[in-house]
Symmetry: C2
C-alpha cells in the first residue's frame, strides 16, 4: 500500500480593509478580491527560498527571502517549529494585487505563504496560531507590526486587535448583507509616508469621539444594526489628515454616501477608498458613483465589489506524491 | 363610577459607575445601591418646586429648582411636553447616596425625578426619552453634559454613549455573573477638579491602546467573556492622572486583583474605586481585600457589593386619589 505525502500546496489570501474608519490600527475586514496566491513546496536546499514572483509588479519585489514579506513570515514559522530538522522550503509568489494600494497587499502575501507552508508540513499550527508569523512578515515590508490586515486576511470577516503586544485578536461577527465597494485610484502612497504625516498628539476630546465610534461599531456588528455601522464609521482623527494625500477624496466620499452607502472612508493608509453598503444592489450603485467621481477628475482606477469575506485565507490546490513510488525511483 | 388619578409617585434611581476603566465619557453601568429616591406630586403653584430634601448631606443641596439637578431635569421635561397647560409640580428628594463620590449621585437624583414625574403625568415619555432631561439636570451640577451616569441609572445594565451631541446611547448586554465591589473612601473630590487635571492632549499611541480596549470591552460583554472583560478594563489615559488624587489607590487596586477581581479602576471621577468580579463569592473576597487596604491606610470608607443592576430606575410607590370624590369635596 502506498502512502501519500504532500508535495506542493497553493493557498490564496484575500486583501483586506484595515482601520475601517474609526478603528485606526485595531480593526479590519477581509474582501473577496484582489488577493495573493502562494505555492509552496519542499526543497533540497536548506532554509527558505523565493523561487519565482509573478504578477504585474513582480520586478518591484525582493527575491531575497529575508527581505520578502512571504519569506520572512515562513522563516518565522519554521523557527517556531518544535522539531530539530527544519525542512528546506521553496515558495512561488503570484502577486495578484496592486502594491501600496491600502488593501493589505503585503499581509496577503505573508498570510498565503504561511497557510500554504503549514499545510505542506501537515498543519503543525492552527490557523490562528499562524498570525504572529504573518505579522512578522508584514513588519519587514511596512516597518510596523500591526495585525489588522494580516488577521483579517487570515481569519476572514471582521477582526479586532485588542492589543499588538502581546498580540490579542478577536473575531467579530460579520452581518450577512454587508457589501464593500472599493476604488483604488491609480496613485501610489507609501505606508511609511502616511504614518509620518499623522500627528503624534491628539486632543482628548477627539479621542473620546473616536472611541465612542469604535465601541459603537463593535456593538453594531454584534447587533447587525446596519445604520449604526454607518454612523459609527466616522473617523475624526486619521481621515482628516490622510485624505489630503488622496486627490478627489471628499467628492468620492460624498458621491458614495449620496448613492446609498452606509459609510465611506480610507482603506488602510490609502489611496484606496472603501464604502460599506447594505445589499449588493446598493453596493453596485455606490461603486458606480465612486467610479464616476474618480473618472471625472481624470484618474484611472480599479474598482472591486464583494461581500465582506468570511473565509479568509483558503487552500486552492495540492499535489500529492506517492512516497513508496518515490523510494522506488 | 369613580375614576382614579395619580396623586403622588415615588421613584428610585440607582447609582452608577461611569467610564468603566477604558471607556472615559462613553461607558457606564448601574449598581443596586446606593441610589436616590424622589417623590413627586402635583402642586397648586406654577412651575417646579423642591419641597423637601432629606438625607445626610441635605443641607449642601440647593432648594432652588433651577439650581438643583432634580429640579432642572423636571423643568426640561415639562418644557418638552406637548401641551399648553403645564402643571405645577412639587418634588421631595431623599438623598440616600454620598455627594461627590464618583457614583453618579447627581445623575441618580435627576433620573429619579424625571421617572417619578413622568409616571405622575401618565407617562407622556418612554423611559429612554427621559434621558435628555436627566442629562440637562446633571449639567447644572457638574457643568458638563455627559450621559454615561444618567443613562446607566435610567436604563440599567451596561450602556454605551456613542455620541453626546446628538445624544445616542446604546444598551449593551450585561453578563449574569458580573458582580461589582465598590469602595468609597471618605474624601470628597469635585468633578470639576478631576476634569481640570486631565491633559487636553493625549498621544496617538495611548489613544489607540485605549480604543483597542474600549472595543474589546464592548465585544467581551456581547461574548460574555469574563477574562476579556478584565483585560479590557485597562485605562492608559485617565487613571494614571486621576488616581493621584485618591490616597492609596495603587494598593487598593493591587489587593482587589490579588483577591480575584477581573479588573479594577476609578468609578467616574472618583474617589470611589470599583472592581468587577465573576460571581458573588469572589466579589465578597475582593470587597474584603479592598476594605482592608483602605483601613490599613487609616481612612474611613463605605463598601458596596452588588450584581450589575439590570433594571435601572424603578417606581417604588404610588398614591391614587378618587377624582369624583375630589370634585365632590
Amino acid at each position: 500500500m502506498s502512502k501519500e505525502k504532500i508535495q506542493e500546496v497553493t493557498a490564496y489570501a484575500p486583501g483586506s480593509v484595515a482601520n475601517v474608519g474609526c478603528g485606526f490600527d485595531v480593526m479590519g475586514f477581509a474582501i473577496n478580491e484582489p488577493g495573493d496566491e502562494v505555492t509552496a513546496r519542499f526543497s533540497q536546499h536548506d532554509g527558505v527560498a523565493i523561487s519565482a514572483i509573478y504578477g504585474e509588479n513582480a520586478d518591484l519585489l525582493p527575491y531575497r527571502a529575508d527581505k520578502n514579506t512571504a519569506g520572512v513570515a515562513v522563516q518565522a514559522m519554521l523557527n517556531a517549529l518544535d522539531t530539530e530538522e527544519i525542512p528546506g522550503i521553496e515558495i512561488e509568489l503570484n502577486k495578484k494585487m496592486p502594491l501600496g494600494s491600502g488593501l493589505g497587499s503585503s499581509a496577503a502575501s505573508a498570510v498565503a505563504a504561511v497557510v500554504a507552508v503549514n499545510q505542506l508540513l501537515g498543519n503543525p499550527f492552527t490557523k490562528k496560531e499562524l498570525l504572529p508569523f504573518a505579522v512578522a512578515g508584514e513588519h519587514i515590508s511596512c516597518g510596523v507590526s500591526h495585525a489588522d490586515n494580516a488577521a483579517a486576511s487570515l481569519m476572514g470577516g471582521f477582526i479586532f486587535v485588542r492589543s499588538n503586544n502581546p498580540l490579542e485578536v478577536l473575531d467579530l461577527p460579520t452581518p450577512d448583507e454587508l457589501y464593500c465597494s472599493i476604488i483604488h485610484p491609480d496613485i501610489e502612497i507609501r505606508t511609511e509616508d502616511t504614518r509620518r504625516i499623522l500627528r503624534k498628539q491628539v486632543s482628548l476630546s477627539d479621542a473620546v469621539t473616536q472611541w465612542g465610534n469604535v465601541g459603537a461599531l463593535v456593538a453594531a456588528l454584534f447587533m447587525e444594526d446596519y445604520e449604526l455601522i454607518g454612523r459609527s464609521l466616522h473617523d475624526s482623527i486619521i481621515e482628516p489628515i490622510r485624505s489630503i494625500l488622496i486627490p478627489g477624496y471628499p467628492i468620492v466620499k460624498e458621491e458614495a454616501i449620496k448613492a446609498g452607502a452606509l459609510g465611506c472612508s480610507i482603506s488602510g493608509s490609502g489611496p484606496s477608498i472603501f464604502a460599506l453598503s447594505r445589499g449588493r444592489e446598493t453596493a453596485e450603485e455606490v461603486s458606480q458613483a465612486m467610479s464616476n467621481a474618480v473618472k471625472n477628475i481624470g484618474m484611472s482606477y480599479e474598482i472591486y465589489i464583494s461581500p465582506v469575506n468570511k473565509n479568509g485565507s483558503i487552500l486552492l490546490d495540492q499535489k500529492n506524491i506517492d512516497v513508496e513510488n518515490i523510494s522506488n525511483q
